[in-house]
Symmetry: C2
Subunit: 738 residues, 2 copies
């Protein structure tokens, strides 16, 4: 019901956005080229991913489940989750390409700033509504249809969503940054022409990239965060409370839908205030409303005592109070991350000002100060997330993990507004691009768009912080499902009697077992590997762009004079081909690494692996996102006339920072969030099979080792193939260089 | 015995080194200034650390032990470990300052390359001998005097060594890079004068830094690695096999002494081969000898069956075979790390060539490609280390952890040669500095020194890789001691009877408990925090150097013309003061973070914390060391005339990379190794107290929470104080800027 309402509201907002003015013919021309490029990319990506989806669909049947009904449901809802994820990504991209133009057009009108902001933010509102609508809808259908068997089917749904989102994040991230870095290297650095100059053959590809990476990738990612969190909450809820536990986790996000609508509608820029202030206000108002409504729902819907749930829960306190506090923990967590990220990446605070200041002593100090900002912000954000997990855990008593999951749903109530905020970033970035390329906007309009762009940088960093927080909460909750999956399979196997002392010793020995520690190291290593692969992929694809743009400048006369149009389409094609090729290696790594560890080293090591990946992934993701955001905005500060302004040596230094930050914040960083979820869900899915082959009648070490070795072989092969494509820009094959 | 022999051989080598020629008067002048600066720094550092040492000495009495004999022994040997660590650091520094001059002088002679190499390498040999000599001596005395109570006393010995080494690494690391970066920023970047130009007031400080950081810090660090590994092996050996287990771990490193002597003496450069080839040959020869001798020792000394050790060991295979293989695993691990690091940071292989190549497209691509190289090498190195741990663990059966520790002692047999290799780096770097400043060497001699310097960069990276490998092996073994400490304290507490099923469930639930996961996240966060603090400290101290050097150029006439000598001493003073001030925050973090986690969240979370810190720390340490090494050598490649050579824009780009890499590879990266050990030992030391307050008759949550909060308060206070000193170069207080 609420899910459908969300979809309807999304439609209404959509109409509003599309009704806005579309600007000059030249602007429309450019926007059309961008739309076509983006659509072509997503179409090709769909075809690639479809093959992958079908393979996984079939592989899922090989994993144990209670009966065929469950197996079929799991595989089918895997496809549904995947399709939803892709559809939302596509929609996010399509909408953004429509909105870019309208924001650029709006900036030219009287009172343009307010209109531009409203259009940009409402566009995000549409995506937000549809994200929560489809997520809630999918999960609700599973719960209604499968009831008791819902958890296994939900695993499929969440896995589909996460897997596709990861691919879209990685592929889109490579696309957008390859085009961006490539365009900058030839344009700004070699030829000395400004950003978004129409003479640069890579500009259209750059704008296409913003749409397929920041919009399509981000929308799919946030949908996935939403779906997986919901899945985790539902699985744990059903384990803890049966059917009761399946309803409340759906009510909380439904409340979120309502407040998100309010949040999107109240976003109105007051005269004279910064864009970030406006957006933050909407966020806080909707957060408070969410908290109040959730508390009411908890007290109305949940019983006042756990004893209603039967034996074993007597000492766990008041469920309504626990649920309310857990949800509030989630909401407060979102607010703190918002503040922290805003502080570390906003142009008006000390960290970014410091980074800008270091530009006076050159590029090296810019890099060092940005890395420091990234490290520092990662530590504080991770500690806050850890505190939230621990708080919910302490609170929960007998239902600790469910409380963690509820904190996650609390965080989710803010997703509607968050998506709106995130879409704001690429839309304003693109609007600026269109405006600059068309040359049809005046000084004042350009100023408006630049300011919105800077706000967009911060909102993008904020959503990444919140996305990674959902990853940690969801992962912690899924950890619970993982443990459940193992104990369920273990049931009926153990019969021996050991003393409490032995149990305690065994626990301590196992937690500190070298085997588990090896798992933790491998988990952390996979995060480093994945980040390195993503950064490398960008360098390589950017190299291809550089050579193509150079070739066009050299071979096509008249480009530099502006009399001939460069062949924009060629660059789009190259980047499309490269980014689809590049996404396979990190993708395979994410899926097969947990398989290799689980079957090869056992469940203890796999648990360690997940813990290592979550811990290291959280820090790395925030580090990459925030250092990138800080560099980007430090550059904006210098461009605004500080420390010598555009063209100064300080500006050059910040451009180095920004270029380094590009693949950090838009390729590697954001992809870690779905990576963590994919690895978690793979672990949950394979856990019963691992246990089955490890202990009891089906014990078969040979099979386990073979599966593990096959997984390792797949990963190694993928890495070797990508290695052979070279490691750096200048390794680009001769036929492209020519 | 062998320990004393090692010390004697060290003395003989020392005589040889000191007998070498000392060059011109001007060179001696410069060397003298460097010696004085380094000695002054270490003296002030000694006074600072002495206070700290006394406090810890007293605090140790507060921690539980069996009786006063054990408590007193632990505290006293803490001081002994600390004193040895400092003494070796001091000696390393002193020797290096003697050797620098002699290497520089040797380069001027006929056949200079071979002589220079020999002097540089033998200097390292002295330090190596004394390192293993004192380490073995200290551990042997403890074992002989305390026998049954040795483990607790050894904890104190190891802790003292690790703590002081960490401080020397951090302090020395900040010193060397603050001076280096500061000198480069004003000299190379602002004034356009060459590196090591005598007109730059920071050059002497830069050379002093090489000695206090790379020599003193490194020597203390390697001594600590040696001592802690030995401590871990002895503790586990005594747990597993009683007195038998205390002897074999001492025999293996004793063998290492013999082979190291051989290794150092056979290092002779053949005509026409690269310096790295020569050094590698010595390494491999001594590694093979070590392996053979260890195998012989195992078969002679150890029984052929575990049944000799009594009940419980029947199924564990042949002890001699297991011990031999474990030791060989350690030696092979060292060899692989050597190869991997050489590949990723050597000028003759693809990665560094690639990084150099990217300099053609500017500083940003240099940074990105260097980061990729760092990530990649970190992943492979970490996986190799993990494989070694896992291999030893599988092998060990009932004595798995002891096998891991034996692998560690195998690794240790190579320490003598490793120290020699590492000292080679700063000595040749400094020799180059002295040569350049004095102007008394010709083209050919300069060429020799430059080549040696490049080899030194790689050997430095190699030792860092091996140091971190010892950290992981020692930490894994100490993990065992940690678990021992807990189970021992638990003994006599548990009485309940639970079923095997419950035990299995409890294990799974605990490994995947959110509490443990929170610990893992905090552990990983501390590594990021520590790295960030170290990098920041360098930026800040470098800022002070920049302002001072600028001031001298401005206020003292005649410096630029070379007619007046700049006030070198002032810069040395500033850096000394700053680096001693800056080392407190990371130091307090290392000691108090495990206390906060352990008392606040319990033993499970503390185990998670350690695992997170080890995993993330390993990857981060190797990433920082290798990316820094790759950048440094990429710069050398360009300076050798590739991609445009000195003064080209490519050169500028690699200078950016090198400057970023400086605090990575010489401050943050190497300090992570002792950091891990300090945190591990703190955990082992406090574990009994944590358990005591958590369960049983002494349970006292209030005390636990208070201790935890005090620890948190200390960390926060330290961070706030360092924050108030500003975060970046340009935040340097006005009185220094003036």
């Amino acid at each position: 019901m609420v899910a459908l309402a969300a979809l309807v509201i999304g439609y209404v907002l959509l109409k509003e956005v599309l009704a806005a003015g579309q600007g000059t013919a030249k602007m429309q021309d450019i926007a059309k080229a961008v739309q076509e490029g983006a659509a072509a990319y997503l179409k090709r990506q769909r075809n690639t991913l479809a093959i992958f989806g079908v393979i996984v669909f079939l592989l899922l049947f090989a994993l144990p489940a209670d009966d065929w009904n469950e197996k079929i449901g799991r595989s089918i809802f895997f496809l549904v989750g995947a399709a939803f994820s892709f559809a939302i990504g596509y929609l996010g991209m399509w909408l953004a390409t429509q909105a870019n133009l309208r924001v650029a057009a709006a900036s030219r009108e009287e009172g343009g700033r307010e209109i531009a902001m409203r259009v940009a933010f409402r566009t995000g509102g549409v995506v937000g509504m549809i994200t929560v609508g489809l997520g809630l809808f999918g999960a609700a259908v599973v719960v209604l249809v499968y009831t008791g068997q819902a958890p296994k089917v939900l695993e499929g749904f969440g896995f589909g969503a996460a897997l596709i989102a990861m691919f879209m994040r990685v592929g889109g991230g490579i696309f957008t940054k390859a085009a961006d870095v490539g365009a900058d290297l030839v344009g700004k650095v070699e030829q000395g022409i400004p950003e978004d100059d129409p003479r640069n053959a890579a500009t259209i590809a750059d704008n296409v990239g913003d749409n397929v990476g920041d919009c399509a990738g981000m929308a799919a990612d946030l949908f996935e965060s939403y779906a997986v969190m919901l899945v985790a909450a539902l699985i744990l809820g059903s384990t803890a409370f049966g059917v009761h536990g399946l309803i409340f986790p759906l009510i909380v996000p439904a409340i979120g839908v309502i407040t998100a609508v309010i949040g999107v509608y109240i976003t109105k820029a007051r005269a004279g205030e910064g864009g970030l202030v406006t957006i933050n206000r909407s966020f806080y108002i909707s957060a408070v409303i969410s908290a109040v409504l959730s508390a009411i729902a908890a007290f109305v819907y949940l019983p006042n005592s756990f004893s209603d749930f039967g034996a074993g829960y007597e000492n766990s306190g008041n469920p309504a109070v626990i649920a309310t506090i857990a949800v509030i923990i989630g909401i407060v967590l979102a607010a703190i991350i918002l503040k922290l990220t805003g502080y570390y990446t906003g142009t008006e605070y000390k960290p970014v000002k410091d980074v800008a200041q270091t530009s006076e002593t050159g590029g090296a100090t810019v890099i060092l100060s940005g890395i420091s900002v990234g490290f520092e912000s990662a530590v504080y954000t991770a500690l806050v997330i850890a505190a939230a997990v621990f708080g919910a855990y302490l609170l929960g008593g007998g239902v600790a993990l469910f409380a963690v999951a509820l904190a996650g749903t609390g965080l989710l109530t803010t997703v509607g507004v968050i998506v709106a905020m995130d879409t704001f970033g690429p839309v304003s970035d693109n609007a600026q691009g269109i405006a600059e390329m068309s040359g049809d906007v005046d000084e004042k309009a350009a100023q408006i768009l630049t300011e919105l762009d800077a706000v967009g940088n911060t909102t993008k960093a904020i959503t990444k912080g919140i996305a990674i927080a959902t990853a940690v909460l969801a992962a912690t909750a899924l950890f619970g499902s993982y443990s459940d999956a193992i104990t369920k399979t273990l049931s009926g196997m153990g019969t021996g009697v050991v003393t409490g002392m032995d149990a305690a010793k065994s626990f301590v020995n196992q937690v500190v077992s070298p085997n588990t520690l090896v798992g933790v190291i491998i988990g952390a290593a996979v995060v480093f590997m994945f980040s390195g692969l993503a950064v490398n992929a960008v360098s390589r694809a950017a190299g291809a762009v550089v050579y193509e743009v150079r070739r066009q400048f050299r071979d096509i006369p008249g480009i530099m004079e502006g009399t001939t149009r460069p062949e924009y389409g060629k660059v789009v094609d190259i980047v499309t081909r490269d980014s689809l090729r590049e996404l396979t290696t990190p993708g395979l790594l994410a899926v097969f690494a947990p398989i290799a560890v689980g079957f090869g080293l056992g469940t203890g090591a796999l648990a360690g692996y997940l813990a290592g990946a979550i811990a290291c992934g959280t820090l790395m993701a925030i580090f990459l996102a925030n250092s990138g955001g800080a560099w980007d905005n430090a550059k904006k500060l210098v461009e605004d006339g500080n420390h010598g302004g555009k063209g100064s040596s300080a500006h050059e230094a910040t451009i180095i920072g920004d270029t380094v930050g590009d693949p950090f914040k838009d390729t590697a960083g954001p992809a870690i969030n779905p990576l963590i979820k994919v690895m978690n869900l793979v672990s949950v899915l394979i856990a019963p099979a691992v246990v089955q082959f490890s202990i009891g009648p089906d014990e078969n070490t040979a099979v386990r080792i073979i599966i593990s070795l096959v997984a390792v072989a797949i990963i190694v092969a993928a890495i070797v193939v990508s290695k052979r494509r070279g490691t750096v820009l200048s390794d680009t094959p001769a036929e492209i260089q020519a």
